[in-house]
Symmetry: C2
C-alpha cells in the first residue's frame, strides 16, 4: 500500500507517519519510484506499536526508539529479549546508587534476577524515598507486594506467545508498557473502593 | 530552628530550601526578624515529603504543589482526602474520553468508585491502547490484575493510621506515589525471574 493508505488504516495524518519515518520509529518502505514507496502489514503493525508506546505508554520519542531497537534486535531467546526490553524502557522514579537492600529482598524471595537488573535500582530508590519521607515500607508490606507481583508476572510470562521470538518480544514490550498503567489504575480504583468501605459512609 | 539547621537536618543545600519556599511547596517559617524566620518539626516533615514527591515520586513542581494542596486541605474524612489526593496526582499514560468499558469492569468486580474517578480514564486509555497495538487485554488477564490490585489495596487502606486525618492523608499520598514504583519494579523483577525459569537456561 502507499503511504496515504497506511496512514488511513492507522487512523493517522500522513504528516504524522512521515514524522515517524524521519525519526526512525518506522522503517522506510520499499522504493517504487522517485517519490513513492510501498508499505506492508508489518509497517501497519509497527505504526500501531509506535502509537501505543508514545500515547498511553507515555514514552518519549527517544525512549520509544530505544525500545523499538530492542524489539528489532535479533535475540537468542525470549528471556534475553525480555531483558533487553526492560533495559530500554524508562524507569519510574529515581534511583539509588547501591541496591543492597533490594538485592537482599529479591534473594529472600528466591527470585533469580541479573546483578545489573535496572529494576533493582528503581526498587532501591523508592525504598530510600519511603524511608526519607518517614514511612518506611515494612517487611510485611514488601512481602505482600512481592506476592501480588509474582502472581501477576508468572501469568504474564505464561501468556507470551511461543510462535516466534519476534512475536514474543512485541508482546512483552506492549504488555510491560501498557499493563503498567492498567495495574496502577486498578490499584487506585481498588483503594477507592476499600477506603469507601472502611472510612466512607457519609 | 533556623533555615540553615533545617537544611542541614533535611540533608539539602539552603538554596534548595529557599527555592521550595519561593515555589510555595514549603510554608514560610515564623518571622523572628527582618531576614530571619524560625522553622519547626512540621517544616522538616514537609521538606521530606517534598523530596519524596519530586524525587522517586517523579512529580513536577506543579504536580507536587497540587498534591500538597490536597494534603493541606481540611478533609471531612480520610475517604474524601484519598479522593482529593488521587485527583491531584498525575496519571500514567493517556486517557480515553468515555470510560464505558472501564466502568463496566469495575461494576462487574463490585467496586464502588465515583463516576468521575480519574483512574477510570487511565484504565480506559490503556485498554484502548492495548487493543490498538493488537494485544487486547483478555477478561481473564483483567480479572487477574484486579484480584492482585484488590488484595494490595485492601491492606494499603487497612494500614492507614487513624491517629488524625492529617496523618492519614500524608500516609495515603506517600504510599500512593512511592509504592507505585515499588510495585512496577517488583512486577518487572518477578517477570525476569519467571522468564528465566520458563525461557532461560541457555
Amino acid at each position: 500500500m502507499q503511504i496515504s493508505e497506511l496512514a488511513r488504516r492507522a487512523d493517522l495524518p500522513v504528516a504524522t507517519v512521515k514524522y515517524y519515518l524521519r525519526e526512525g520509529l518506522l522503517p522506510q518502505g520499499e522504493r517504487t519510484g522517485a517519490t513513492r514507496a510501498r508499505y506492508d502489514a508489518e509497517h501497519l503493525a509497527r505504526l500501531r506499536l509506535v502509537r501505543a508506546l508514545l500515547g498511553p505508554g507515555g514514552l518519549s520519542i527517544s525512549a520509544a526508539r530505544a525500545v523499538l531497537a530492542a524489539v528489532d534486535a535479533p535475540a537468542g531467546s525470549v528471556h534475553e529479549a525480555l531483558g533487553a526490553a526492560h533495559r530500554a524502557l524508562p524507569r519510574p522514579g529515581s534511583e539509588a546508587p547501591e541496591p543492597t537492600e533490594a538485592r537482599a529482598l529479591v534473594d529472600r524471595w528466591g527470585w533469580q534476577v541479573a546483578a545489573d537488573s535496572p529494576s533493582l535500582h528503581t526498587l532501591a530508590g523508592a525504598l530510600d524515598a519511603l524511608r526519607a519521607a518517614g514511612f518506611p515500607a515494612s517487611e510485611e508490606v514488601l512481602d505482600r507486594y512481592a506476592r501480588a507481583a509474582a502472581e501477576i508476572a508468572d501469568r504474564d510470562v505464561a501468556d507470551v506467545p511461543s510462535s516466534s521470538v519476534a512475536d514474543a518480544v512485541r508482546f512483552v514490550v506492549v504488555n510491560t508498557v501498557l499493563l503498567e498503567p492498567v495495574l496502577l489504575a486498578l490499584r487506585r480504583l481498588a483503594q477507592e473502593d476499600a477506603s469507601g468501605r472502611r472510612f466512607g459512609g457519609g
